[in-house]
Symmetry: C2
Subunit: 245 residues, 2 copies
């Protein structure tokens, strides 16, 4: 049956695939987390020997994981010259933001149109979970950020979960991870006091528009929400680091 198809990337499930305790998968997951977090910096050459040791795997297992990451554009393969972490640039991020706005608002429209009571309940639950951690996140930003990432992802996933388009979910998932990389790397490397941004208020506004089924409002707010990540990083001067490679 077609519904059994395993989709390579997506926003539904949080990283782990249904049944796949293979070494390749584990390596892929660790490596992706290392790239997203910036532990493996943009543009870094990925030498086989070093990575084999780092992840405790053999040569082909490693390369398989690498090739999976190529599909998500987190790693670039360069002919016979090995792999490297996909470089980042301001232009790339602007592009991601533009396309992401388009896809996510479309998914939102379809989701609002088709979402039933169960969908609404999911959204309520996801927003609740996110709110709870956003109350506490100012106390312990470092310790809770991993969990916040997850609940933030879950909230955005819930909003569009009633959209039936597999392909929209697929592409949105890819772009979401890309954005996450920019956000996390820029955030961790920004020095000095960071101008606070009331993300929770933005989430709340989107949430209320969702419950009211106000499509236009929800789309507008979502676009702002995505845009603000860009101007936030841009204003914070986070893009300087991407100049040289």
């Amino acid at each position: 049956m077609a519904s059994d198809v395993i989709w390579p990337h997506g926003l539904q499930h949080g990283g782990k695939r249904p049944g796949s305790p293979t070494l390749v998968q584990a390596t892929y997951d660790s490596m992706r987390e290392d790239i997203l977090s910036g532990r493996l910096q943009p543009g870094t050459k990925l030498r086989a020997e070093a990575l084999k040791e780092r992840y405790n795997v053999g040569a082909s297992t490693l390369r398989e994981a690498l090739n999976l990451l190529v599909g998500e554009a987190l790693v670039a393969s360069e002919g016979q010259k090995g792999f490297r972490v996909t470089p980042m640039s301001e232009a790339d991020f602007r592009d991601i933001v533009r396309v992401r706005k388009m896809l996510e608002t479309q998914a939102l429209r379809e989701s609002f149109e088709l979402g039933d009571d169960d969908w609404e309940a999911e959204v309520v639950a996801a927003f609740h979970r996110l709110s709870r951690i956003e109350e506490r996140v100012s106390d312990d930003p470092a310790g809770l950020s991993g969990e916040w990432e997850e609940r933030n992802r879950a909230f955005h996933a819930a909003l569009i979960s009633a959209c039936p388009s597999r392909w929209l979910h697929h592409f949105i998932g890819i772009l979401f991870h890309q954005s996450e990389r920019y956000r996390r790397i820029a955030f961790s490397q920004s020095q000095g006091p960071v101008k606070r941004r009331d993300v929770h208020a933005e989430h709340e506004a989107i949430y209320e528009a969702a419950i009211a089924r106000d499509v236009a409002q929800a789309c507008a707010l979502t676009e702002q929400h995505i845009d603000r990540t860009l101007s936030f990083l841009s204003d914070g001067g986070a893009f300087h680091q991407f100049g040289a490679q």
Copy 2:
């Protein structure tokens, strides 16, 4: 530099990547062609031994190619139970068509806005090449179809080539290949006299709208063009084969 990044999939270059005469690439290309053409049927289990022999490669080379295809969603990986050719379904194709229309019209808008004289010249050239083969294609449909595929792809690529969004190109490329699989498989397996469809007229109309820089018209025609593939396959009863697996 960011512009040196190699994008895994896309509509620009026709299959072959810049400099990559690696075995993995060759295997990936052959295998993709086999899937697109239907020689490897949807849902088929991909057994390592058989494929090693078929493509004359070792186990890890094969798996690397397989993992690359997973990124394009032409192959699905199932836990520890191997790989299989991604199944097809009418619902999936409808989804592809919907999303493709959205992305391609957006790319068209951006391309029209930014395209200069060089872009126009490219479009003219690509249309000319396509027209020439479409004149001859009724004589020898089988022999020329490969070349037609290529020129058709090139024409559509030229239309949107002035759109600067890498990500749009990336996603459009994936969906284009997916559509191609549906079209080719449905077409090759449809029996009996096929209702002829004047594809050339559709291309010509789009071409003229492009030269006139009539965005609205070009988008509308492109949507029709993409839609017609769907209704063409649907009317031809080509979807029956996707019921059972």
